[in-house]
Amino acid sequence: SAKFTPLPKMAASIGAVVCRALHSRRHGKFLSIGRGLFSGARCLVAEGETHFGFQTVSETEKGEKVYHVFESVAKKYDIMNDSMSLGIHRLWKDILLHQMNPYPGTQLLDVAGGTGDIAFRFINYVRSQWEHQIRQKLKSHQNLSWQEISKSYQEEELKLPGGSQVVVCDINKEMLKVGKQKAQHLGYSEGLSWVVGNAEELPFNDSKFDVYTIAFGIRNVTHIDQALQEAYRVLKPGGRFLCLEFSQVNNPLFSRLYDLYSFQVIPVLGEIIAGDWKSYQYLVESIRHFPAQEEFKAMIEDAGFLKVEYRNLTSGIVAIHSGFKL
């Protein structure tokens, strides 16, 4: 397949066409070519093969390689996130939660949730909503006696407000281990469970969850369409699918700066902070291979979701895609 190169678009297209001629005996999947440099990198993968960063590997190999990448970065995952995104990833995740706007009683499934960032934010959000609700209730019930008020506090204190539940599902045991340690350290225990599972084959029954989120995980999945179908399956009717993922930057000048930063600085940070260049090289390459906003929106619609929308953050570095199962 024609690899990503800095050559002008036309050269990349020529290369791609020649590639196709060479590969014509294998009927490769042909992704759209005319979209510029990065598309050149993404075309022409033969069947049974997929991308691992800029390499082409077999599909079984990709799963293993991704597992090893996250196994080795698990312990430094959070530090690296902070240093690579200069802390901005926290804002992105907060915005995701605001968009989700869960009410107490929501059942959340956080896939590829490894270290639990989304799950903890969900718990905080639901708690603050619950406290808000209680305050509202108290305001309207000013004539309650003190005994009745203190009783209502005691009832709800131990359980997570309203019976909200979050299940963190991840294929990688190391990431879950780090997540559990963090939960213990930060004091989250109620309404939280940790499950090992593959996003392409979730170990849950149909129609179980109100919200399904996958933050920075879906680009590591070998078969994205299968993951989307599984998401559709486990959501209740009326459930919401939310995906926070790196996407294509729309501003050309900013895009160049972003590329420079991605390819020059991020692997260096990986080497210095985590002692692991290759994993972070994989990270920046896998971002380039992920479909752009519109294409991913089409994939979500194919899985059966309706009212699919996306919202760009930081001029397209990440995008939140949202869809409903109706």
Binding site: A2, T5, L7, G53, Q55, F263, I272, W277
Partner: protein, 322 residues
């Protein structure tokens, strides 16, 4: 086939890599053992490698930071030997410029960032030995070149460059060395390994040196480091390491050694600092200046030699008693 977009036959797979330690030399005088790629290609690889990683970077920035770009308009013409290299196995984008196993090609900007970050991290967390190694690799190009030239001009050093011996537990006959009489180099080396509980296999593999012969030189330097401890009679505590670093700084001129030698004592207490400055450092510097290049000795052939005679041969002065 020569279309620019198809410069690499970019499919996944493992690049058949060059550096095989211990292989017999080719008939030509050059150290081509293991280097399958012609120099011209290597030169271009060094220039063009990182461009593939920095798509669409601003042209001005690119000139400054990434080195002069290969002229884009002309496209790339792979030399003939590329066909033989890439014919048998598909070459990755990643690994196309891998000159030896574990090589990660880097741009000058990346090297600068790595050096700065590694220096900071090594001082901040002294247990990060890999940072010291990275610093050595990214800053050591000219020192390594002069070391390699010194090796080439010495018969024993030249032999080492040809044969590329590696010091590893799998190649060392540790029980045999342990059986040697006391005072011999082999016996003292094994004693050093045992008492300090270190192993020659913990040396970091080379990643950021963009020349495979220089990569071997720095790998040899790392493996000889433990032997230096033995010859200088220094343990692996902080004090001993600093003394060895001073010796190596004088001997090799590697910026990493110089930085380590100068900044290492920062973490020592006053008493150790005094011993260091009054006795150990002057001795180490004098020994370093007096001794011939330590990389020019085929240590694997000298296990039976006594430490004293080896010291005399190299030119290391007798160590002071601490």
């Amino acid at each position: 086939h020569d279309a620019p977009g198809l410069r690499r036959s970019g499919r996944g797979g493992r690049h058949v890599v060059s550096w095989r330690p211990g292989r017999a030399p080719t008939s030509s005088g050059l150290v081509a053992a293991g280097r399958m790629l012609p120099i011209g290609w290597l030169g271009r690889a060094r220039m063009g490698g990182w461009l593939r990683r920095a798509p669409g970077s601003l042209r001005g920035l690119r000139h400054l930071a990434l080195g002069s770009p290969a002229p884009i308009g002309r496209g790339y013409r792979p030399p003939h030997t590329d066909l033989t290299v890439t014919a048998e196995e598909h070459v990755d984008e990643e690994r196309y410029y891998q000159l030896y196993p574990g090589h990660i090609p880097t741009s000058p900007l990346q090297k600068a960032l790595l050096s700065a970050g590694a220096a900071f991290m090594a001082l901040y967390n002294p247990y990060r030995h890999d940072m010291v190694a990275v610093l050595g690799e990214t800053t050591g190009t000219s020192a390594l070149q002069s070391l390699r030239d010194k090796m080439r001009h010495d018969p024993e050093g030249y032999q080492i460059l040809q044969e590329r011996p590696r010091i590893r537990l799998s190649t060392l006959d540790v029980t045999g060395l342990r059986g040697l009489p006391d005072g011999t180099f082999g016996r003292e080396y094994v004693r050093f390994l045992d008492s300090n509980r270190v192993s020659p296999d913990t040396r970091m593999p080379v990643k950021f040196v963009d020349d495979e012969e220089l990569a071997y030189v720095i790998q040899r330097y790392r493996e000889v480091h433990d032997l230096m401890h033995t010859l200088l009679g220094m343990p692996t505590n902080m004090l001993g390491e600093i003394v060895v670093k001073w010796f190596e700084a004088v001997q090799t001129g590697l910026p990493m050694c110089i930085l380590g030698a100068v900044f290492g004592p920062v973490r020592l207490n006053a008493r150790k600092l005094q011993i260091l400055t009054t006795e150990l450092i002057p001795w180490a510097v004098r020994s370093g200046l007096n001794a011939s290049c330590v990389l020019n000795f085929y240590y694997e052939n000298r296990w039976e030699q006594t430490v004293e005679s080896l010291r005399e041969e190299i030119g290391i002065l007798h160590p002071p008693t601490i």
